[in-house]
């Protein structure tokens, strides 16, 4: 109470951004103390998306744990399963076939594309540039349709399994991937041009949310946030895994150290991802797509890491020789990027707060990973047709008949 009186006497206002706010895509609480329009102090509180994933993995076997790990996050689900499968394969001593590495690589780069396009749209929305938001999300649909054809679902595509991948890529699908790459490349070049020349965009993004290379070192930032400060850190180059043992990646860095730099890094990374996809599709070898994986892991512990769209993702597995993991620990990239958040917010204006928060590309679900898995109520399995029928019923009861809408088959 005295804090509030103090604030009132100094004409300071505490604006609560979150846990529920139009600018936040997931809940998180930022209490911003304002002096006029300037942010004086920012208290960051996260943990609203905690789901108990690590505990849940301990009471399930490895196959079930993989499903849970996939759902740590919707946008970077492939990166999480890849990291987890890699950890399992390292401990079990499995040699994954080359074709599986390539398929994993292609899906991983497609995921990077759709994640960065999503980010671009969200960032545009935060600064009020709705037109760019609509354009990037329209382009993202191309990638999501491809991913749905590959894996069967637009998010959580379930392509990875222990020992390789579960689905193969047919030649027409690969032709379509190349076609989408061509379409996207044009559009991305347009966005890159836009980022470099559109005055209002530059005015809003430049000079805010500054994180110097020293700050990056102090707060252990990873991913595009670190690369925008000129630091060349990319797991695909530092510790090449899978297909990146054969294909070299150009690490994209920028020197702006601010939100504008992060935008440029992500746009250029998208162009780099397209280049990598083209190489992978051209060079993909024939062969099996998986090897048999054991049910039990030998005793031991393993650390594995991959380059998720948001940065470095680390998984830890400890096994006591059974078919259930003893301890699973996930360090999602956003977790590393949170530490500098208060530092990045202070000193800038209220109008910059949403875009600074959005610029680290926060994935609160990846960070928190613990909710109550409650199961009171009906537990039943419904398939796609039943769910659709249920929802049509719902709408009919409100007087709208969507039954005539055709659903596209995958």
């Amino acid at each position: 109470m005295s804090d509030r009186n103090q604030n009132e006497r100094n004409n300071k206002v505490v604006v609560p951004i979150g846990p529920q706010h139009p600018s936040l895509k997931e809940p998180g609480s930022f209490k911003i103390t304002l002096d006029g329009e300037k942010v004086e102090r920012a208290v960051v509180e996260i943990g609203y998306n905690h789901r108990g994933i690590e505990k849940a993995c301990e009471s399930r076997n490895y196959i079930q744990a993989l499903y849970i790990i996939e759902r740590v996050c919707g946008i970077c689900s492939h990166a999480h399963t890849l990291c987890f499968c890699q950890a399992f394969e390292e401990l079990a001593g499995l040699e994954v076939p080359r074709r599986a590495h390539y398929i994993r690589g292609i899906v991983g780069e497609l995921e990077r594309l759709h994640s960065h396009l999503l980010w671009l749209g969200v960032a545009a929305h935060e600064i009020g540039f709705d037109t760019l938001f609509m354009y990037t999300w329209r382009d993202r649909e191309l990638v999501l349709d491809l991913l749905a054809r590959i894996g069967g679902n637009r998010v959580n595509y379930g392509v990875n399994t222990y020992g390789g991948v579960r689905r193969d890529l047919e030649p027409e699908l690969m032709q379509d991937i190349l076609h989408v790459c061509d379409l996207l490349e044009e559009k991305l070049k347009y966005y890159a041009d836009l980022a470099l020349t559109e005055t209002t965009l530059i005015a809003r993004l430049k000079g805010i949310g500054v994180l110097t290379p020293d700050d990056v070192r102090k707060y252990s930032a990873v991913g595009p946030v670190a690369r925008a400060a000129g630091i060349e850190g990319d797991v695909r180059v530092a510790e090449p895994y899978g297909v990146f043992k054969e294909i070299a990646v150009n690490v994209i860095t920028d020197d702006h150290c601010d939100v504008y730099g992060r935008t440029l890094v992500r746009v250029k990374e998208m162009l780099e991802a397209i280049r990598l996809i083209r190489i992978m599709v051209a060079q993909i070898p024939e062969g099996p797509i998986s090897v048999r994986a054991p049910r039990k892991l030998p005793v031991g512990e393993v650390l594995s890491r991959v380059e998720a769209p948001r940065g470095e993702d680390i998984h830890y597995i400890r096994s006591t020789g059974t078919d259930m993991p003893d301890r699973v620990r996930v360090r999602a990239p956003t977790e590393a990027n949170w530490h500098g958040m208060s530092h990045m917010l202070e000193g800038f204006q209220l109008a910059d707060v949403p875009i600074i928060i959005a610029a680290i590309d926060p994935c609160y679900s990846c960070t928190d990973r613990a909710i109550h898995l409650i199961g009171d109520g009906i537990n039943q399995l419904t398939d796609w047709a039943q769910i659709r029928a249920l929802s049509i019923e719902q709408y009919k009861s409100r007087g709208i008949d969507p039954g005539s809408i055709k659903v596209r088959e995958f």
Partner: protein, 312 residues
């Protein structure tokens, strides 16, 4: 007498203003959507929104003054309707035209902004207070260039009546070209007055949720929304009268021309809205004071000299 009542209430008064505002609002939203490669709303959407809002429950915050809460939307809507009566809709005649009605219209159009500010301040809530203060700050930014820009054609025309100005430029159409720079200034300041992108910091959805009107709901919000779209119509009409004066002398043809001219102005505003990001309030202030105000001032001086020089 009966004709006057008809003029005030139906055409081109309240009823026409209401109907045409819905049309322009629809044009605004549809073109904006098409520019974003979306489908956009159907033609009856603004009307449907208004009717829906009127039917919703009104919740008054505990700390707000009830009378002020209820009166502000009504007053601002009334002010805009009064302003519209001075605008020429067919040819160069308006419902009421008198010397100085340009200034009167501009003052009447300031009332909605003040009501907006008071509404936000009255709600006593963090987001609405910030939105209210931003509205006022933005007013300090655009008010000077707005007045200078709108008064420049008047100086050249030598009359302070909108209808008079329209008539003057109808006779000397080439002089409109002299006003081109200040036409652009007027467009930008009008965009700021209407709190549309890129100047909608007072209503920034991703920062302060809804700005000054965050606590408003039900029919009061409907009146404020109505004010916004009526203001769009009024300002578009004033701009059309001041800067696009082509008349044929035939009443109904002039009316069609009026519709076309306001349509063009709204299209230009939508283009501004769709192609830019929202700029911060301090950047707005800097932009208006350092770039637009000097242009408007220069134009005023030029027009003054020309008026004397051309001996009009």
């Amino acid at each position: 007498m009966l004709l006057s009542i008809f003029n005030v209430l139906v055409f081109p008064g309240l009823l026409f203003l209401g109907a045409y505002s819905f049309v322009l609002e629809f044009v605004d939203r549809k073109v904006y959507a098409r520019m974003q490669s979306r489908k956009g709303p159907p033609w009856y959407q603004p009307l449907a929104d208004m009717l829906k809002l009127i039917g919703k429950k009104v919740i008054v915050p505990r700390n707000a003054q009830k009378f002020l809460f209820a009166a502000l939307p009504t007053v601002s809507l009334a002010a805009v309707c009064a302003a519209f009566l001075c605008v020429p809709v067919w040819g160069a005649t308006a419902v009421t035209a008198y010397q100085g009605d340009l200034v009167a219209v501009l003052y009447l159009l300031t009332i909605p902004t003040l009501c907006h500010f008071l509404a936000g301040y009255n709600s006593h809530e963090v987001y609405s207070t910030i939105g209210a203060f931003r509205t006022l700050t933005q007013m300090f930014a655009y008010e000077v260039p707005l007045f200078m820009a709108f008064l420049s054609p008047a100086i050249l025309a030598g009359t302070w009546s909108i209808s008079g100005i329209a008539a003057f430029y109808a006779v000397h159409p080439l002089y409109t070209l002299i006003n081109l720079p200040v036409f652009i200034v007027s467009l930008l300041t009008s965009q700021s007055k209407l709190e549309r992108m890129p100047f909608d910091a007072p209503e920034a959805e991703t920062e302060i949720v809804g700005g000054a009107l965050v606590e408003y709901s039900g029919r009061y919000l409907a009146y404020f929304r109505g004010t916004a779209i009526a203001e769009l119509t009024a300002i578009a009409s004033v701009l059309a009268a001041l800067y696009l004066p082509f008349f044929t002398g035939i009443a109904w043809l002039d009316f069609v021309l009026y519709l076309a001219k306001t349509f063009v102005i709204v299209l230009m505003m939508v283009l501004l809205r769709a192609t830019m990001a929202r700029i911060r309030i301090d950047q707005t202030l800097k932009f208006f004071w350092s770039i637009l105000t000097p242009i408007a001032m220069l134009q005023m001086i030029v027009n003054l000299l020309l008026r004397g020089g051309l001996g009009l």
